[in-house]
Amino acid sequence: MKDVDDKFLKNLDRTVPLREELRPRKVTTPDGQEIEIEPLKDYFCEAAPKVHAKSYFPIVEDFYNWARANSLWILGFGTGCGAIEMRPLMTPRFDAYRYGIQWRPTPRQSNLLMISGYLSVKTLKRAIRAYEQMQGPKYVVGLGSCTINGGMYWDSYNTIKRLDQYLPVDLYIAGCMPRPEALLAGFMELKKLIKAGKCEGANKYAENFATYKANQKSVIKDWDMPDYNW
């Protein structure tokens, strides 16, 4: 294929300055006090995520996993075109609710993050925030070919090509875009994996935290949030 310019070289040196409202500064409160604030530190807990240990008794762990598999609450964050096939799943025709799957509006209430399609760099930043705010045990499902290897957008300058570099993915559902039936089959597969105790994405994220952060920061040039926010 014809490339426009072969001598193209990426500009690696330039950095993006921090936005003004995020810099440490002095402010006057409404009642006249002068205080120093540092927005990136003040409102967030700095502790890194911890590995969640398994229960000592396997039977207890099995029970936990059974319970987890039967209440998958999905964060209703449509990151790409795949979100349009989530809608039929919520309605009586495909009805994912009968499997204990439901959609929640906030990350605090959900434990399954569906990355529904391609992730642009701007959305990746929000997806990371959403993932880190979710309560463990939590799972990530990548939906569509574009999360697996870039798919249709293999040469796009604004979408990531491999989701598992940036978030711990437990399951991929292939297709462009996957049909509702494929999504249901994917959910069933995820349940099997959870019941077998193989969905250790959150622990993997905690163990390889430094690697994931390095990968994320190599793509997101204007990193203007704390390293871990929850």
Partner: protein, 392 residues
């Protein structure tokens, strides 16, 4: 009727230019992000609201969460390779991209699509329009807390997706319209099955009339809210149902007929109030128009005929230098493709003119100040914007 009258006594005085001096550190204002992960937002975009009490004083739209760089990717692909990615520009109504791109290429390459293909394209476009309106009716109900409309409309839309699947082999991205024609013919017995779907749709729509359009809560929250002054239509580039709700009976299907719309018989629905309710009623009337059009097309279209014109070998296809602009009336307004070629096998530039581009950016930012926080979602849905076509 209740109307929202904000108490402005606590506001700081406006500056010399009549605008509020918004200083967050006075504690009188609060920044509120609606989106990108928020139930009251249309797709993956966000609105940065500055609120004082529960009144919004400033709104800024932020897009780019879905940017894939289509216009760049298209420049890197041959004319036939562009075709699978154009439909991904707008997810809920992809067929318009296929039609506009195909028509633009045909215009520059001097190809005429056969008559059967013209009818087929019209059918596909109307089916897509129907789907898009189903999304809208479900969405506007959902934005105002009527969950059941979303359930019903998604179900009816699913039935239409079945017909799409039968015709084209795909549910969402059909890729049925090619430069030079369409990919195939109607399957056997398609008319009868389509008629069943349309009957079901009409039954559900009659229910929607009762449940949503006669609902006093829905009326109270939508009448007189989010009024677009008809004087703003031209400067802000408002087209389609949003303009028709303000009494402007402009519809490209009537005004500059493309495909076979000049052989079809339909009326352009309008309303006068230009508020959220008027925009919803116009779209409700348009669904009916779409249903009638699908019936007419199936009755009038030729039963057989070539579906594709002869096109050159697509691997060696070069189009002489030129530029063109193809437009059509999609469910949200004027949709257009601006195609520039330079004599090589690759397009020089393709620009997609989506109606959401003007509606969700400049117009929404103009409309938001002065509304209640709880009305922002309904206001946004009522403009019927799809983020993927803003940033492409």
């Amino acid at each position: 009727m209740f109307s929202f009258k904000p108490d402005r006594s606590q506001y700081p005085a406006p500056g010399p230019d009549g605008k509020l001096q918004i200083d967050l550190e006075t504690g009188k204002y609060l920044k509120l992000w609606q989106g990108p992960n928020h139930p009251g937002i249309t797709g993956n975009m966000s609105v940065e609201l500055t609120v004082c009490g529960d009144e919004v004083v400033e709104g800024k739209t932020h897009v780019g969460y879905l940017h894939r760089g289509f216009e760049k990717l298209m420049e890197r692909r041959t004319f036939i390779q562009v075709f699978p990615i154009v439909c991904r520009v707008c997810v809920p109504e992809p067929d318009f991209n296929e039609y506009c791109y195909a028509a633009a290429v045909e215009d520059l390459a001097g190809i005429e699509a056969p008559e059967y293909a013209q009818w087929m394209r019209t059918l596909i476009l109307e089916m897509g329009r129907f789907n898009s309106y189903m999304m809208f009716l479900g969405g506007i109900g959902g934005a105002l807390g009527l969950g059941i409309t979303g359930q019903w409309m998604t179900y009816v839309r699913d039935l239409m997706l079945d017909r799409f699947e039968e015709l084209t082999g795909a549910r969402i991205y059909h890729m049925f319209i090619l430069p030079g024609g369409v990919r195939g013919h109607l399957p056997e017995g398609f008319e009868g099955r389509m008629e069943e779907v349309l009957d079901t749709a009409e039954r559900y729509l009659a229910d929607i009339d009762r449940v949503m359009f006669s609902n006093s809560v829905f009326k109270t929250r939508t009448k007189g809210v989010g009024v677009i002054d008809p004087a703003l239509f031209e400067p802000y580039g408002v087209t389609g149902p949003n303009a028709r709700a303000g009494g402007v009976a402009k519809d490209l299907r009537k005004d500059s007929p493309y495909l076979v719309y000049d052989q079809l018989d339909f009326e352009v629905a309008t309303a006068t109030d230009s508020d959220i309710f008027a925009r919803a009623t116009v779209r409700r009337a348009d669904v009916q128009t779409s249903i009638d059009l699908i019936r007419q097309i199936l009755k009038k279209m030729p039963k057989t005929g070539p579906a594709m014109a002869k096109i050159p070998n697509v691997l060696h296809w070069k189009i002489p230098r030129g530029e063109t602009y193809i437009k059509g009336e999609c469910s949200r307004g004027e949709y257009g493709y601006y195609l520039v070629t330079d004599g090589t096998g690759y397009p020089r530039r393709i620009n997609v003119r989506g109606p959401s581009y003007t509606h969700a950016m400049a117009l929404l930012e103009h409309l938001i100040p002065g509304t209640n926080i709880s009305d922002v979602a309904a206001l946004m849905v009522s403009l019927h914007t799809y983020p993927p076509e803003i940033e492409r």
